[in-house]
Subunit: 226 residues, 2 copies
């Protein structure tokens, strides 16, 4: 798996289960990892602390960028809209408009400054809650655009958006991360985790995560509120 050495990569790190696994994969592939966490005004503030803990554990440089997406609102994560506690139809209200586009654009900026050609993001098209910006066709279009947006498009190197989880089930992600030594007890997936990082157990993200641990046959280290 050691596909690259001495190459810088920017890894988007939310503090959740998926992005922690992605960081472990990028490390395993031999990249020198620069983790990027975005404080966008998310309801679940404790994930920012989780991102710091995960980056430190995995010896990645971390930058946290502040960007107040509450100024736009329009999502249960960034506006005064309740997080749903039952499964619904269509695109859920926890979808944050253009979030992955914005995150990737910040990663692209940092990558260009670092001279890195590689960006990692933990999107997943299987257990993905129906968000449009988690689909492979979005990632492919983003990569094309990124290669025209930057010096890469002028001087001839090529930016790659790596999505190592895109085709995996949550159980497969957990199995792979467990093999790589990821401590999932440090990660927070819950959309309404409390300040101590304890999960609600009932939001979409909690339900998908808990089912993933069960299907993987891995004991669930999540701390729940009750």
């Amino acid at each position: 798996m050691n596909q690259s050495t001495d190459r810088n990569a920017v890894v988007l790190l939310s503090g959740g289960l998926d992005s922690a696994t992605v960081l472990a994969i990028a490390n395993e592939r031999g990249f020198h990892c620069h983790a990027l966490s975005v404080d966008y005004g998310q309801r679940h503030r404790s994930e920012l602390q989780a991102a710091q803990n995960v980056a430190e554990k995995m010896s990645a440089t971390l930058k946290t960028i502040k960007l107040d997406l509450r100024k736009f609102g329009g999502s249960a994560l960034t506006d005064d809209i309740d997080v749903p506690e039952e499964e619904g139809e269509g695109i859920p209200v926890t979808y944050v408009p253009a979030r992955n586009t914005i995150m990737l654009s910040l990663a692209l900026a940092w990558a260009e400054v670092l001279g890195a050609d590689d960006i990692f993001i933990g999107v997943n098209a299987v257990d993905y809650s129906g968000y449009p910006d988690c689909r492979p066709e979005f990632i492919n279009a983003y990569e094309e655009m990124a290669n025209l947006a930057t010096k890469a498009g002028v001087v001839g190197n090529r930016m790659t958006i790596h999505t190592p989880l895109i085709d995996l089930s949550k159980a497969d992600i957990i199995r792979q991360g467990t093999e790589l030594g990821v401590d999932y007890g440090m990660t927070i997936s819950c959309y309404q985790a409390d300040d101590e990082g304890r999960a609600c157990g009932v939001c979409d993200s909690c339900r998908i995560r808990a089912a993933g641990f069960e299907a993987a046959g891995v004991s669930d280290p999540t701390r729940y509120k009750s």
Copy 2:
């Protein structure tokens, strides 16, 4: 020119000459304009005040979003690098990595929340200083990506990135804006304008702007430092 009514549009407004012209064009086309200004830590702080003045004059709603791109650096506008005062070769050091990608992504987020399908940006492929993210192929790729990134890609409406200046010379832009009543005395193009908004007269942006007024045969209202 009145191509649309009762349609919301997001217009990226920097406070410079180009984006003020774009706002006038979007108004003229009948869009209800929501101007977006980004405080990215730019050296030329007075352009933020110029954006406010221009938006107010043209009766557009304005949101200013803070995003500290100085955390990444890598540009004379966001790092401790001098702004060049003579013409150079290649991509200039005033290029801010991924800036237009980031700006468009913030505009996309706001557009999605507003239910707007139209985004305006004042990029220009003629007098454009050699920035990769001002080329038509970048804009086309961005539009494709945007339509996969958002609900638009799922529910069937279509996002359009409007670049009404892309093929115009600076002189043509100034002529068109002057016809539409843009007060260019309110705009700031200089990369190192002082706190009172007075221009240096020697940076790339000042040189291109001054030559534009001269070629357009329009008297230059820019206030210079000396």
